[in-house]
Symmetry: D2
Subunit: 284 residues, 4 copies
């Protein structure tokens, strides 16, 4: 390990490119040449898409420009690479009326369990304003009343952009988003859906689950794209239920799964561990 | 507890009827009057359907006829009740080419982990014959070659009926059953589907799961009715997968879930713990 | 089902007594005689201890005194029975410095996910005071500084008794309790221990887990008795970890398990579902 | 990806050495120079021990000698590296009287779910001989009757060595092994213990679990060293139990966990994914 100095920093290098021979050695050679210490390295070759993915946790004195130039020279056409510090990234949280996912994120941020800055919470209802303000975080109401979906989403995206967040977290934000909205935050919107997708897409999944008589219920965190509940899945979890559960009891029990899945997914995303390839995620 | 004598037996009384006040006390009074000891009692009121379900494990000297007559007198119209010994019930297993669920049942039966008699295994392929015969159980081939679905199912059901099984277990029997077949074994056919239903109904669920990029895969045991993969669910379980899993790797990992879910479901069914109400199961 | 009137109430009857023939029928007969509707009934015979346990959810117009007198007459010597309304029971929460379990309970109580009244939070440190007060619940500091364990526990129990709680919840209260303290709240103190007991009893269980190289970590909710981490277990859960987890990472991941196990256990206790028999719990 | 030719092979390179800067780039450079395609690469730096671990799945035309010489030249003192084909490795299974773990391995090997050759099964009892022979695998009895532990272990190890297995699998072999035995198969013996270690070390863990009133039971696969149930843990899993489980019911339910954990652990070991560092495993 290198000696830590005032100039020593920690950054994550993410590479995503068509697979080719020698990629690991090329990239690690460049890091080596830049005298950067590799604290952790993970890579994956997706044989379906023929793509290579690598996440490298680096420590040292960075010359970002030269490092990226070296990578640009070494890597094949069509490569994506990004060098990023993962300290205190910013998120904006969107909510409607349910408190549990929001509360979990507020608690984790307030007590050091999540290294993130919640810049703002925006709701289309005012119900959660007191909770947010108790944690000394600004709450903004962007009501959808009397607005078309397009108009509301426009106001929403404008409000979000004021805070330049790294990610937008939908903590039970119960609105369907317009393509215009989604396209402005590509691979930056994380949603929690209250079912183990692809089961029970759409509205009232717990009621659907109850009607079907399933013995597990679950939650799915995913990036949002333009197909409802069809974006790349980041994480899923389930709990067992039985015949004693009404739809309401499922809903209540499911809340703990939802908040756990959302916060653990967000952590992976913030740690720059989640890559998207088509409709899939690779988590390194 | 009663003293055990040569005449002392253990039986399960199952009651399923419209809910009414005093049912538990009526039924237990009758058991008490018959000097039967209640080893275990479980009941449930399904407030959706307004039905009452009770499973009573009784020990003593039974006069079945009088007990059932007493129940008939005491219970409301439209009640179902059944008194059954659960020792050495008989099953017939239907298979195609996959060995894992079958093998698990054969092992459990052979080494005392499941109190059941596997009267016969019937396959539409001959591949698993050697495995079955290694366990000294008769294997019957009922090939579907050159037959319509109806013709094949007719031969199948005739063959099954030769063994008068308590239950028919589809241990990865990869054929869609005709209504004629299903109606002959109402609530007696248990199937294992290789997905967490209602996700991935139909063919090749692991390939569907892989294409969708899910992070859990699972299995569902259910009673078979006439809607494909839509019968009352008995049990479900899942395991976590990640981006390193190909469809084939999912299939392989899923086999352990399938066999566990099938054998645990069968155990519950054999223990007379599973009640069916509409498209739901109540497991007492 | 009975018609609901202004006088109709819902109560839980709990019975725990030496097993005998006819208990279910005796108890349900009494309920029937009192024209009480049984909404839900669960019972269990523990063949190890020879004890019978029954939880009956009743609805109707209650004459508590006569009902209990009838039970007293019908049940064997040494029976325990209790009739209780489960609405808005009161708890006092004890904390030290960790926020996650406390925060989860505060959130659940504030947003209707737990039907309980948190009468007070008492800490031996002041750190969590702001969090508690944000939820408009009184926080009391009972510092242990300069006090013997006995002196501190005396102050603590006096403070607790001011609020006459139904239960005392140790939400990561990091103090060993004196027998004097414990004896005052017999079967009323619920603790969350941050390991899957009986593994890693005592201090720093995550560090112990890390040293041992385990692949699962967990949490255990239990009633407190006078043997450290040895009281009757109510609930346990685990998560999988791997070689990438440091002790600190385990600690962080474990917090979600701890809070889930504690709050789900508390719900079962509040619902009067948890019976204690020796060092075991029966959860009906 | 390289073109597959008759000379193209697949091998696993495992490296384990003191951490140093540039290791990944050195090793991958050597692979690159040898024109070997990296199909999959995983590495880990254990900051506790300061060791580096890397597993590289290579494809190409191998010159083992030169590759290892190049590695020897490039890597620091005290490095361990190994190049191995993982096809059809050989195991010997040791058993006593319980069939479930053995049966699962026999089934998986027979039906292509595990790429391994079970060269022999050796028992200290004869009970499982028929099962083994049904799968056309030789069974050897090495009875312990009338022998000291040392004498029996000597006969056992001689018998095992006849088959030169890659690994020795204890599939519920209920004997404590002597240090002499263990030392002959260092990091080559995999045991399944029927508890979630370190809980319930030693004999009759399910009875211990029942006495303690735990709400989870589990199984642990580990390498065997000279401390009873203290070797490096490979994998653990648990299932939930409740008050209705007797010790016997736990034992029965636990069998499915045991066999799953053992076979999944063995797969990881056979795939050369499991590294041992002190009392820990790193699974890449």
């Amino acid at each position: 390990m290198t000696t830590h100095s005032v100039h020593t920093k920690k950054k994550i290098l993410r590479t995503q490119c068509p697979d080719a021979t020698g990629l690991i050695s090329k990239i690690t050679n460049i890091c080596y040449k830049h005298q950067l210490n590799i604290l952790q390295n993970n890579e994956f070759v997706d044989h379906r898409s023929g793509h290579f993915f690598m996440r490298t946790e680096l420590e040292g004195i960075f010359n970002d420009e030269m490092l990226l130039a070296d990578l640009n020279y070494a890597l094949p056409e069509g490569s994506f690479y990004e060098l990023k510090s993962i300290e205190k990234q910013k998120i904006v949280i969107l909510v409607t009326k349910e408190a549990h996912c929001l509360g979990d994120l507020l608690m984790k941020q307030a007590y050091g369990d999540m290294d993130v800055e919640i810049t703002a919470v925006i709701g289309n209802h005012e119900l959660l304003k007191p909770l947010v303000e108790r944690f000394d975080i600004p709450f903004h109401l962007v009501s959808h009343e009397g607005l078309s979906r397009e108009e509301h989403d426009k106001l929403m995206s404008e409000k979000i952009k004021e805070f330049s967040p790294d990610y937008v977290v939908l903590a039970k934000y119960m609105r369907i988003l317009t393509p215009q909205f989604v396209s402005q935050f590509d691979k930056k919107i994380i949603n929690i859906h209250h079912s183990f997708l692809p089961a029970f897409i759409g509205a009232k999944p717990y009621h659907q689950a109850y009607e079907r008589g399933v013995k597990i219920i679950g939650a799915t965190a995913h990036f949002v794209n333009n197909d409802l509940d069809e974006g790349p899945i980041i994480m899923q979890d389930v709990i067992h239920v039985d015949h004693t559960y009404t739809a309401e009891a499922m809903m209540k029990a499911g809340r703990d799964v939802e908040k756990n899945v959302l916060s653990r997914s967000l952590e992976k995303v913030l740690a720059q561990r989640v890559f998207v390839q088509g409709n899939h995620t690779i988590i390194l």
